[in-house]
Symmetry: C2
Subunit: 325 residues, 2 copies
């Protein structure tokens, strides 16, 4: 059994707990929290909730620590810090800062002889893998990534910060005609506006100026100004009833030529009922890889690009060759 | 520069030659043939055509030999034999015999200190990879593979063997409604007939009994009897004009749950203008991996499951982390 620790018990941490139940070579040992451990009730009866201050005592009790913090402030500190004690996995997704994060985790993990796999999930993660495979196979071509239909937490938060908004959910939606043009090998040049639309469901405070809110959303730089945006005002009950799920997904395509007039389309698509539960499932399979690789003596920082696929699955090499090749 | 040799100059060998032109870290050194070398003209002016009998003299002149023979009789002999002299890649696709082929290549490659990557292409190959990744991430789910729309060489050949048939092309076509049901997470149980249809374009000999030919096709065991099959009789000119290309493709899907009521769909799709040219492009990127891995001292038989994605691409680790993650 691979002994797993979870650091942080938000949506992602809870997702990891569920994913472990689907993998019979793993067990959850403990959830580490910055909160008072007694304030936290977890689903796994056989696991403990432990204060983050005591995590060092678990050095020999845990094979892999899955760090479920946020990329803005948590992971840049936590992942290098805990790579000094554990094999660690994170879902660091600030693309521009990945090289710096890699260096920090690499230094810590090489010192401890542990492995740290960073930026695991679906984007970065599975989408990155598909970009790499497709670029390696079709060097002469174009990449396209579409996200959605799904909830963007960042855009929902941006709407919530507007005066007069009580709550909000924002969906990112790929433009069907753009996707179709890519699939047909037309290699379109697509502007931001041509790739995605944004749909917002907003609960306004009593007496708020809805026209003003809608205007502020639609003209918000970076978040909405470059997109065709639709705003719906709904009741709080309706928001809770119809918009509490966290679906997401998207498409990675590469269109490329192997000779004049001979084109190929590689498409990878995800349709996810729950973004955090799916991301957690990816984290858990890379936790297995970290465990196996570290047993082989491998240490340092790794990404999905460095991990041979066989390490992800709970089957022998003979079995996967026989049943999946 | 990675120095490539090609063994066999059929559709696949010609595709490898084209793929090398798209990769500027590679050069074609020679094409080895069982035919009289003087009878063969190749596109690459800087490469030589050499008799297979002289291949041993090229031991130090070639980094990777891409073996472009057939799975029935060529590869089971050629891949182990040449793994004793070269790093080799093949596209062995007789699924049931992969374990045996693996053992033979492994023995030869371990003796020579070379690497042999077998069963490279899209199925087996990229489809296998996607089955593995998706199963690792969603252990509680169902797999679906659909092929087409594309030309099946085996089925076309089977039609050509019928008395009165001059020439034929057979297309395998996935059933759209079955694909749709899978994408919607309905987890359908699909029979052979429900997954694919078969469409045949047949040129009959003068005076042949078309009714009899159509009957023989539609009732042919294994090949057609279990499918809804359509037969069109066309002229030889029409066959040449409209059915000379070798398109193919298909879909690998996994539908799986991470908790009760929470389902996810992972889909991988290929739409290929030329089956052999695309397969060749996959072979070439795994040739790069063989070269890099053997430089690191790795030897023996490998499959796509054993190869970390980073080895496939002509970019540094820093660059892929920065631009593709």
């Amino acid at each position: 059994m691979i002994k797993i620790g979870i650091l942080g018990y938000g949506n992602l941490g809870k997702g990891v707990e569920k994913a472990i139940l689907k993998n019979d070579d793993m067990e959850l040992v403990s959830v580490f929290t910055r909160r008072n451990p007694e304030s936290l009730t977890i689903a796994t009866k056989t696991a403990q909730v432990i204060s983050i201050n005591e995590i060092e005592n678990y050095k020999d009790k845990i094979d892999v620590l899955i760090i479920c913090g946020g990329s803005a402030t948590d992971l840049p500190v936590q992942t290098p810090k805990y790579a000094e004690m554990f094999n660690v996995i994170d879902s660091f997704d600030t693309h521009a800062k990945i090289p710096e994060h890699f260096e920090n985790v690499d230094k810590a993990a090489k010192k401890s002889g542990k492995i740290g796999i960073i930026s695991v999930g679906w984007d970065p993660g599975l989408f990155s893998l598909n970009r790499l495979y497709a670029n390696a196979i079709l060097p002469d071509g174009s990449d396209y990534t579409f996200w959605g239909k799904g909830v963007s937490q960042g855009h929902s938060d941006a709407i919530r910060r507007i005066k007069g908004v009580k709550d909000a959910k924002q969906y990112t939606i790929p433009v069907e005609s753009a996707l179709k043009a890519v699939r047909e090998g037309k290699n379109p040049q697509l502007s931001t506006r041509e790739k995605h639309t944004r749909e917002c469901f907003v609960v306004a405070e009593n007496g708020a100026d809805k026209t003003q809110i809608e205007h502020e959303i639609k003209t918000m730089p970076n978040y909405f100004a470059d997109y065709d945006t639709t705003v719906h005002f709904i009741s709080e009950e309706e928001l809770i009833k119809n918009h509490s799920a966290i679906p997401h997904g998207g498409f990675v395509l590469r269109s490329g030529k192997t000779s004049e007039g001979t084109n190929h389309i590689i498409e990878y698509a995800l349709k996810l009922d729950s973004n955090p539960e799916f991301t957690s499932s990816v984290l858990v399979s890379y936790a297995r890889a970290a465990f196996k690789l570290n047993k082989e003596g491998i240490c340092g920082c790794k990404t999905v690009f460095d991990i041979a696929p066989k390490y992800l699955i709970n089957k022998s090499d003979e079995e996967i060759r026989k049943t999946m090749l």
